[in-house]
């Protein structure tokens, strides 16, 4: 590794790390405003995981059924099990409407209704009139909505002439003595050369970390890079115990089967052929919130009512919808079933199992996507120049449980908000803050650590063990004893990472090095998840404790903050006050 001072520097107004929906929507604002924007992505932008989002994006357009943003807001708060911040949720639900129109204008090929308006389907947790009849709020491009949105945003960024650093891996943030974010050290994967990008602002938009669980719906690249960078820069992570298990991953394999299958009228069956959601959610049935449906499936399986020879999955039935609906509205699902299961979902039910899917928690931000961390003047002080948006961030709009169709919305609205705030910030702070060698050195040291040679454990082995550990000790149902043991094991594993060695020390396109750097990140976000989960002794949303089955608003209506330094836990209050409407106070959550 070259010394810090010999690494070349590039200068931009704004640095964006990650080229999924959040990063690209921010980049588009900035490039259109003529800022110099650098987007760093470890893969070519259209390979980002937004591409895999299927069902759609929520907005109260009322194209199919009556709707308004205030109902959407209520559903989101209830879905969050009252842990979501109501100011941020109001912002998201209001902004949803112009955001979707803007995407349509940008070219997204939404499916259409006969009157030419955007097609909307029903999704879980949606209601009219604050808990009344089912709503239809999810705007869809067949079941390839993420693909349609990501490609459109990339295309618009080409038009706006955004500067892309494709296949560059962000190693670490660079902060100055006052703690301001002044850029990042990145690695050009193809050449193996490091590069420093100096920027007046840095946006983390690196997505989730599903790879920390053995079976998951996520892409190989989802390794929590931005979250771990934030941790190493001294920013805590918020609400990491809230990890969503999607009710319908392909059993034993993990590919996502969109909630749109149930939105279009599909339902779940147990081994006795019974439509068991009738017992768990008499009103919403299969369209209850995801946490509820996942727990119901596991309860059935635990009670011996699973399907198949091992009774270890349930079936998702859509064949009654007819081949036309299935193939037209769910072509991507049809493909997945055909390729990975050898079945046609229009003829046979799909074996499914709850699968690790989405992080509600992440880097704490306010509703302008500015990163906020505890400091001298309170728990929510803005870190100058640092932003986060999308799955890696925690605004928090999803609280303890995210509703389907709200993740694409989150990345778009807050990616855009980041863009707007960065514009204002750069106007006020037109000059780069000085960057000195000592600011860069910690990041360089992180790279250099993987240059040590000699005998040691392999990255792949430790990674596999981590993934098993997280699945065994921090799954859908949790309890004190297994999590305590999990934390001990994970601490031991973290120690062992020190002794892991990279055999491949080559420069050109060294994917083994990237995977080693990703392992560091996974271990850090895994610890954040397990520690936060261990400490919260209540059940709320996706965090379900068998030893503390009730929600405890008295003690626990607060956000967790995990810091890497000493594995410390802190807490801060939930923002229960919306911007313009009345607060929704916590109520028992039934579907």
């Amino acid at each position: 590794m070259p010394a810090a001072r010999s690494i070349p520097h590039r200068h931009f107004d704004a640095l964006i790390i990650g080229a999924g929906g959040a990063g690209l929507n921010a980049a588009l604002r900035l490039a259109e405003a003529d800022l110099r924007v650098a987007v760093v992505s470890k893969v070519f932008p259209t390979r980002s995981h937004t591409v895999a989002a299927q069902g759609g994006v929520n907005a109260a357009l009322a194209n199919v059924l009556p709707d308004n943003w205030h109902w959407h807001m209520f559903d989101t708060i209830k879905g969050s099990d009252y842990l979501g911040d109501q100011d941020a949720i109001e912002t998201m639900c209001r902004e949803a409407i112009p955001t979707v129109y803007e995407l349509e204008h940008a070219g997204v090929p939404f499916s259409r209704l006969d009157n030419g308006r955007i097609y909307q389907r029903a999704f879980g947790g949606q209601s009219q009139n604050f808990g009344g009849e089912q709503a239809a709020r999810t705007c869809a491009a067949a079941d390839r909505t993420g693909h349609a949105i990501l490609h459109t945003l990339y295309q618009q960024n080409l038009r706006a002439k955004t500067h892309f650093f494709d296949e560059h891996f962000a190693v670490d943030l660079i902060r100055d003595d006052e703690g301001a974010a002044i850029g990042a050290l990145v690695l050009d994967i193809e050449s193996g050369e490091p590069l420093i990008i100096e920027a007046k602002t840095t946006l983390l938009a690196t997505g989730g970390y599903g790879q920390v669980f053995r079976t998951n719906t996520n892409a190989f690249i989802n390794t929590g890079d931005g979250m771990a960078m934030a941790l190493r820069a001294g920013v805590p992570l918020q609400d990491m115990e809230f990890y969503q298990f999607h009710p319908t991953g392909v059993a034993g394999k993990g590919m996502l089967i969109t909630e749109a299958t149930r939105g279009e009228g599909g339902y779940l069956l147990n081994g006795e052929g019974e439509r068991f959601m009738e017992r768990y959610a008499p009103h919403a049935l299969d369209l209850a919130s995801r946490d509820v449906v996942s727990r119901s499936i596991l309860s059935e399986i635990r009670a011996g009512r699973g399907c198949g020879p091992q009774k270890d999955y349930v079936l998702l039935k859509v064949d009654h919808l007819g081949a036309d609906v299935v193939h037209q509205r769910l072509p991507g699902i049809t493909d997945i079933c055909r390729v990975f299961l050898g079945i046609d979902p229009a003829k046979e039910p799909i074996p499914v199992f709850p699968t690790a899917h989405y992080a509600m928690g992440g880097i704490p931000t306010d509703r302008h996507a500015r990163v906020v961390a505890p400091a001298r003047h309170g728990p929510e002080e803005v870190v100058p120049g640092l932003y986060a948006a999308g799955e890696c961030a925690c605004v928090s709009v999803h609280g303890a449980n995210r509703l389907g169709g709200n993740s694409l919305l989150d990345i778009l609205v807050f990616g855009r908000a980041a863009g707007a705030d960065i514009l204002a910030y750069v106007a006020e702070h037109p000059n780069h803050r000085p960057m000195r060698d000592e600011h860069i050195e910690p990041a360089v040291a992180r790279l250099a650590r993987w240059e040590r040679q000699g005998d040691g454990e392999r990255v792949a082995d430790v990674k596999a063990e981590l993934r098993r550990l997280m699945e065994d000790h921090c799954g859908v149902f949790r309890e004190q004893a297994t999590m305590t043991e999990g934390v001990e094991k994970l601490k031991a594993l973290r120690e062992r990472v020190e002794g892991v060695r990279l055999r491949d020390q080559s420069q050109t396109f060294n994917t083994a090095r990237i995977e080693a750097l990703e392992l560091d990140n996974l271990v850090d976000v895994g610890m954040a998840t397990l520690m936060s989960a261990l400490h919260r002794d209540e059940s709320r949303g996706a965090h379900s404790r068998v030893d503390h089955t009730e929600r405890d608003d008295e003690r626990w209506m607060k956000h967790s903050l995990y810091s890497r330094d000493g594995d410390r836990m802190d807490y801060k209050p939930v923002r229960t006050k919306p911007l313009t409407v009345d607060s929704f106070p916590p109520k028992p959550r039934v579907y």
């Binding site: 893969v43 070519f44 259209t46 390979r47 980002s48 995981h49 591409v51 895999a52 357009l61 979707v100 129109y101 349509e104 204008h105 940008a106 070219g107 090929p109 939404f110 499916s111 259409r112 209704l113 006969d114 009157n115 030419g116 308006r117 955007i118 491009a141 390839r144 693909h147 349609a148 490609h151 459109t152 295309q155 618009q156 080409l158 038009r159 193809e190 892409a219 190989f220 690249i221 590919m255 991507g332 493909d335 997945i336 390729v339 990975f340 050898g342 392999r458 990255v459 792949a460 990279l502 055999r503 491949d504 020390q505 080559s506 420069q507 050109t508 396109f509 060294n510 994917t511 083994a512």
Partner: protein
């Protein structure tokens, strides 16, 4: 059951601790034995090889055929490794990088020209009218015209199987870019038909396609660039009379 896979190896710099003693600078085929599981896809087999030899490099991510990262050439045919069952491939399976592109390392090729051609067709919606407050209306029939076009994942399987692209990658746009060109020409919301067609004039960009259909055969998403190219040509004719 074990399966035998031969993979293309090329390591441009020498200090990769490769398990093979072959010279670092020359490409060679290396054979691995991999334990096969039922329903195993080629990507999983490549991952199993990487378990044995971490110096082996290939791109991949989503594992379900939507990100377009893992276009490779298996037994002479371009495909996405993640949705190609190993059971469908005759052994020993020969895995090579996508043809016609400079190899960076092992199965990783340089796709710069492929992306340049994509950018050259201005692959974005162009509107001239003021934008409405709500969505631009589009009938379901008009929307249907985009099916079979917008689903492209830019994997490059088609263009790297196209002889015209091999010979003129700098001049002929290639099937993927032309499919996207048609995706916007076919969109009832787009208002740049004339400019788009004008930009495709000349002997190369569009007209180097000789309808050999290699692209259609290999597209893992079942798309049909040849048909799209034909439709562009038809529209050009229509507009010129």
């Amino acid at each position: 059951m074990t399966i035998t896979i031969s993979v293309y190896r090329y390591q441009p710099d020498s200090d990769s601790g490769s398990t093979s003693s072959a010279s670092a600078s020359k490409p060679y085929m290396q054979t691995f034995e991999v334990e096969a599981a039922p329903g195993m896809m080629l990507r999983e087999a490549l991952l199993a090889i990487k378990e044995q030899d971490e110096t082996f490099a290939f791109r991949h991510s989503c594992g379900e055929g939507v990100c377009g990262s893992d276009g490779v050439n298996a037994n002479g045919t371009n495909c996405l490794a993640c949705i190609t069952p190993v059971a469908d491939l005759k052994q020993p399976i020969q895995v090579r990088p996508l043809p016609g592109r400079p190899v960076i390392r092992d199965l990783v090729v340089d796709m710069t020209q492929f992306y340049e051609q994509y950018r050259a067709v201005e692959p974005y919606l162009i509107r001239k009218d003021p934008l409405p407050e709500q969505e631009i209306r589009q009938s379901p029939e008009d929307r249907d015209k985009l099916d079979g076009l917008y689903e492209c994942i830019l994997c490059g399987c088609c263009s790297t199987a196209c002889p015209s692209f091999w010979w003129n990658p700098d001049k002929f746009h290639g099937p993927a870019a032309l499919l996207q060109s048609w995706r916007f020409l076919a969109d009832s919301r787009d208002q740049a038909t004339e400019e788009r067609l004008d930009a495709l004039e000349g002997p190369y960009k569009l007209f180097r396609c000789h309808s050999i259909m290699n692209c259609v055969e290999v597209c893992p998403k079942g798309l049909n660039p040849t048909k799209a190219i034909g439709q562009i040509k038809e529209l050009m004719l229509e507009q010129s009379v």
